[in-house]
Amino acid sequence: MAIPQTNESSLTQGQINQLEKATPFWKIIFNQFIEHKMAVAGSIVILIFVIIALGADIISSITGLDPQKQNVSARYLAPFSTSEFSMDMKENEIEKWSEKNPELAVELSNFIKEKSLFSATDGQNPLIGFGTQDVSVVTAAIASENSASINSFKELTKTFTTKHWFGTDEVGRDVLIRLIYGTRVSMGVGVMVAIASALIGLLVGSVAGFYGGRIDTALMRITDALLSLPLVPVLIVLAAVDLQKLPAIKALMRPDNESIVKMFIILCFFSWMTVARLVRGSILSLREREFVLAAKTLGAKDSTIIIKHMFPNVIAPMLVAISLGVGNSILFEAALSFLGLGIMPPTASWGNMLNNAQEVIYKNMWLTILPGIMILLTTISFNFVGDGLQDAVDPKSIRR
């Protein structure tokens, strides 16, 4: 085809290349976003929580804290206190130690008898009798001594005490490490649900928007029906369903993550509708927008129109919906777990930590406050991020 006979350009190719470069669109959005101070604060909180959630195992191995380890002699400890193993647990540990290091054990027993550090009654193992005393007594007695056996024993006695920054719960588990593992579960479920339901919503919404007609009506009636269900009672009923009976889902589950998978499926099932409506609405309006019509009259293929014009204009509101959805999903997960229908103990989640704490809300308030703060912080952060994104991606609000 002939090239249109417009004026010869006054610029050479070189000069054109030197023109001020376009700011990429994501950068414009980013610049807008960082103007929203609360959204930035929210992103920082989320980032910290994500790092904590991903690093939970590392934190656990460094601090030696174990989210499942119970200690009935140290229930409901206040924050910043130190717990000590019970006599039984100490005895267990010492026996294990002696089995592993028989020579050291003999040496240490002799040492105890020699120095008469402990007067054993008949038939009592002096080593165990000595070691199961209060840790402070034991360390004081051998503090000045220095030999292979004693050093090894000192190491062992050190593990008998644990510092609990946030106290302990009703079975003596450390609250801090449970909150950290709870972050992983609660945020994991929240984010995954938000993303998965956004994808379902994108699929349903775009099918409805593109094809229209009967398909659209059918899909939207289903969406409306689901939207109009009273969510909490239905969730409670569904949470009581035993998904193990469904063979397809059974393959996905191990006993330890069963309740998580179940939670994920249930929440996904009830949270795709908003995105579906949003996407359908955007596509319906985009289809009639003049720039899409203009692309069509230029001869653009449907695929070009979808990829170049529809997708970028739908993805932005979707991102907003996802970030707002995370907050909602976390809240729902917490609510269900609080009711005892969500994530099952011993797996920690913020919701079931709250559930466990409800009986002692007056006596041990921190047990309810701490998970509550975590839920509040994440939900608010995600909402602020969603808000910031909403402002940032709206082309109308774009300034320079």
Binding site: P4, L19, F291, A294, K301
Partner: protein
Amino acid sequence: MSNEIILDAKNVKKYFPIKKGLLLRHVGDVKAVDDVTLTVRKGESLGLVGESGCGKSTLGRTLIRLYDPTAGSIQFKGEDFVALKGEALRLKRKNIQMIFQDPYASLDPRMTIGQILRQPFEIHNILEPSQRDKKVVELLETVGLKASHINRYPHEFSGGQRQRICIARAIALEPELIICDEPVSALDVSIQAQILNLLKDLQKKFNLTYIFISHDLSVIEHFCDRVAVMYLGKIVEIGSRDELFKSPQHPYTQALLAAIPRIGEGKKKIKKSLTGEVPSPINPPSGCAFHPRCSQKIDICSKKLPQLAGSNGHQKACWLYESETP
């Protein structure tokens, strides 16, 4: 202007079905364009005028195949344009372009002007990619913008500048026919004149043909060679600008013209101006659709539909001018 006919539309109809209920039963039609016959000659500007909702945009969009006509034939340069489908239609589209009313909605807010104007060449794979930028700059300069605008986003431009960008996009593929759907009604009056002059210059330069949709008769008078007046999906009068403005014949055209304020004429024509609402295109009045608002209606008007008739290319659909009675 030659006598070559570039677009020939015969009995074109565009009905939008109204569907109701869960099963989407078909309960009626919006008869947005109802039996329009129209020819456009190469190099002319044909004005399309009428009140809001009379189907001007729908007719324009049907002629350019954004909508599939419900019935009728459209020939573009002697070739059947309605029968074209899929890839063939896609490739043919570059010969007819459209400029839309709202310059704010006509440009994708997420694309730079360069990306927008490169698109026509990318779609039809014209020019080496390295040559396209140069071409885009030429286009920008042709429509009175600067090369430095190439890497900016639409929100950085005023309405008039955006309309210039839309015009640049419309002429990029060197079309023969451009349908302008109220291209200046969203703009300030001072900018309107600039855009109209630009369109006129481009017409001379590239030998363009325009279908110019507007509800503003003074713009039409300034811009068009021929004018078609639409009422409720039908053309009620069509003729050369001079004839139509000097001696309007259809009572609707007369009423429209009477509504234009003219210097020195005072208020004496106001009595002929339009009263009443535009009837619904779903259930148009029987006979001549204009009869409920017509000040000169006679018996037959509500019974039988008048056909376009007349000589010298000045035609009207009105019983007042029919010699024979049925």
